[in-house]
């Protein structure tokens, strides 16, 4: 009875507890059989039943907690998965979420869940349907659109710049830093890079200030929300139910059909990926920029950095210069 009720009520803790409990049954049965308390056939039946069902639950549990290969690849190309360097990395997640908002990714996934609920999205009773249902059920736990937009405004000044607590300085500091990177990359080696150091330092200070406290909490929530959306949109069954072949086509089709027009995903993706690269570079170098040094800030020929195992790769100076060029081209 407890198993039935806990299973139907989706009790995550009980599922995990039963994963610890059921593998012990064969051991207990072996002992009882060895002591002559339980007949061999009965002990074997209970052992097979419990261990078999344990393996079934374990397989399902692992598949739920393992993102698809396509989603992992897409994530790696879009936003960093860790927030180790708190404030600036938090801003990178918020920046990605703001662009995904422009892409209408949040609205498209909500629309897919609504279509599925009303039976207008042709999905069977498989894993994809379960994931979409789960996404819809847990929707109240996520930040609503109004709060997300308030976060973008407070931290990056995106949206209404006239808000009381809007980060109005961000846009100017961002453009000044990009311009400094571009001009430093074009100048002769040996020329002073002080303007770049100053622009980078001011931008990093602004991001640190606005990526602190609640912004960090919001970034963590947005990061997990984006992860869930990318997992769903990478699902082949959902893609084919929407009549698309990849994530971006799903967004374009649903947005064009149900959300008043398709976004320019190519341009916005370029802004997102290049912007995220620039912020990752800044997060990795902010400490160095703050220290007074005569060493050059930027070496555009530097292509590789040493990477610590498990950490997100920090972009090289060459990556930064290319990202700045892509961002400026996409925003033109």
């Amino acid at each position: 009875m407890l198993y039935v009720v806990s299973g139907r009520m989706n009790a995550e803790g009980f599922v995990f507890a039963s994963l610890l409990d059921r593998p012990l049954v064969p051991v207990a049965m072996a002992i009882l059989w060895h002591l002559g308390i339980v007949p061999g056939t009965l002990a074997l039946a209970f052992a097979i039943q419990d261990f078999g069902s344990f393996l079934w639950t374990l397989t399902a549990w692992l598949s739920e907690h393992r993102p698809s290969a396509a989603a992992v690849l897409e994530r790696a190309n879009t936003f960093s998965d860790d927030l180790d360097s708190p404030s600036i990395r938090a801003m990178q997640a918020i920046y990605s979420a703001a662009i995904f908002e422009e892409i209408k990714m949040f609205q498209v996934v909500d629309k897919l869940a609504a279509l599925f609920r009303t039976g207008l999205l042709p999905l069977g009773r498989g894993e994809s349907a379960d994931r979409l249902r789960q996404y819809a059920v847990t929707a109240p736990r996520r930040l609503p659109e109004s709060e997300r937009r308030a976060v973008y405004q407070r931290t990056l000044g995106i949206g209404s710049e006239n808000g009381v607590d809007s980060n109005r300085e961000f846009n100017n500091l961002w453009l000044r830093f990009l311009s400094a990177v571009k001009s430093t990359a074009a100048q002769d080696p040996g020329t002073s890079q002080e303007p770049l150091r100053k622009a980078g330092l001011e931008l990093a200070a602004n991001l640190s200030l606005h990526g602190y406290g609640m912004a960090y909490v919001a970034a963590t929530e947005l990061q997990s929300h984006m992860r869930e959306m990318l997992d769903l949109l990478s699902d082949r069954e959902i893609q084919s139910a929407a009549g698309a072949r990849d994530i971006w086509q799903v967004i374009e089709l649903v947005a064009a059909r149900d959300l008043g027009g398709a976004p320019n995903t190519t341009r916005l993706r370029a802004l997102q990926s290049s912007g995220a690269t620039i912020l990752r570079w800044l997060a990795a170098r902010a400490g160095g920029l703050a220290r007074a040094s005569t060493a050059p800030v930027l070496n555009p020929r530097e292509r590789h950095l040493t990477r610590s195992p498990g950490a997100s790769p920090a972009p090289s100076d060459h990556d930064l210069v290319r990202a700045v060029e892509r961002w400026l081209a996409a925003s033109a």
Partner: protein, 77 residues
Amino acid sequence: MGALRDSFRRLLRAEGQTRSAKTVEVFGWLILVEGGLILLAPHIVEWVLDLPALGEQGERYFRLSACSWEAWACCTW
């Protein structure tokens, strides 16, 4: 009352049930049916599993173990 009603609604509709939770539910139904069978018809189980003859006292203990097996399987250890 609202929370109780909401819990019963979740129990009836199994909204948002994950695959792993579904496997736990199926296992629950399995041991429920199994326990019921041992309780109501111990001789069928005796015959299926080729157990030694139970006898009157053995049968009672077997029925009792059906109840305790379910309790054990539910809250084990």
